[in-house]
């Protein structure tokens, strides 16, 4: 499978270059133009990312994260979730790096083929780091009023948690 991933990038780049050459696009000039714009976009995103990641790290360092997961652990039973995967479910939308560290621990302590290991795997595979995506995408175009974005995105994440545990129950 990773072999397939290894193929995809070079093939896509190759196709774009060939397409450009066939249509007589000055490919290198076009590349420089786009790449320069990429830098500009990044400078627009940087402030929002500094703001978000700092807040998330503070939240974790203060112990608020642990308290939140402890408080919500009893709720795991309600949505048929193995309680060991609860911290992962909460951290997944907030911090990508943090979630993968937890996932790594989960696999180490319970094994990849345990119920908790499986639910964790499906959970990580079927959702994204929501807050990061929202920050980067809106930061890039200077939008501060996100309206109902966070509500819908977190709702989808919550459904992903329930669906992960149900899917593992159904399919294994």
């Amino acid at each position: 499978m990773s072999a397939l991933g290894g193929f995809a990038v070079p093939v896509v780049i190759g196709l774009i270059l060939l397409g450009g050459l066939i249509r007589r696009v000055p490919v290198f000039d076009a590349f420089l133009e786009g790449a320069g714009e990429g830098i500009k976009t990044m400078t627009a995103i940087l402030p929002s990312l500094v703001g978000l990641i700092t807040a998330v790290e503070m939240f974790q360092a203060s112990g608020a994260m642990d308290m939140l997961t402890e408080a919500l652990k009893p709720a795991a039973g309600l949505i048929a979730l193995p309680p060991e995967t609860m911290p992962l479910a909460i951290l997944r939308p907030i911090s990508g790096g943090g979630a993968f560290a937890l996932f790594d621990n989960l696999l180490k302590n319970f094994g990849p083929d345990s119920a908790a290991g499986r639910v964790g795997s499906v959970l990580c595979g079927s959702s994204e780091t929501t807050f990061y995506t929202v920050t980067v995408y809106y930061g890039a175009c200077g939008v501060s009023k996100t309206r109902y974005t966070i509500f819908c995105a977190l709702l989808a994440d919550f459904i992903a948690v329930i669906a992960s545990s149900l899917a593992v129950k159904m399919l294994f």
Binding site: S2, G5, V12, I13, L15, I16, G19, G20, V25, A30, G34, A35, E37, G38, T41, M42, I45, L46, L49, L52, T54, A55, E57, M58, Q60, A61, S62, G63, A64, F103, K108, G111, P112, G117, S121, V122, C124, G125, S127, E128, V134, Y137, Y138, A140, G142, V143, K145, R147, Y148, T149, I150, F151, C152, A153, A156, D157, I159, A160, A163, S164
Partner: protein, 193 residues
Amino acid sequence: MNFIWAGIMLLSILLGILTGRSAEVSSAVFEGAKNAIELCLTLLASMCLWSGLMRIAEKAGITRVMGRIFRPFLRLLFPGLEPSSKAGSAISMNVAANVLGLGNAATPLGIKAMKELHKFSSDPAAATNNMIMFVVINTASVQILPTTIAAMRAQYGAASPMDIMPAVLLASAVSLAAGIIAVRILSLRRKRP
């Protein structure tokens, strides 16, 4: 976003003081900022590369073709958007990159799509319904091959690392559908372009 952000920070500061972990919190401030810059540098690399390639694809007309392929999908989810427009093409490229599992290409392409969608906005500070739809589709993850997760499972001796794939697809589809339906309901309720 303003209240969430300030709330998270204030809660952390308060809790840090109450539980005697304010030293940890204060080091997390700078650690967090540093991590953000490091992340930006990583993102900057793929951002430059894929924005550059994207410009070639645009000039060669490849992106317009992608927009045409994804036309039914765009019509359904993004009302009022011309599928062959720049925004339509960029959305198509982002979805294609996500589906192919080209994670580091999907973000730059998604940002491009957001900027194009933003051009239709009447209030530059506020997200439009189409922008919200696009962000929610991306936060719900449309990846088909969970390669990173399979690799981690293999490392810890999973009997068959990829056997979670049907479950991942099912859970992704359900949560994506939930997100899309929620956006659609809320966008109809509050009419705004």
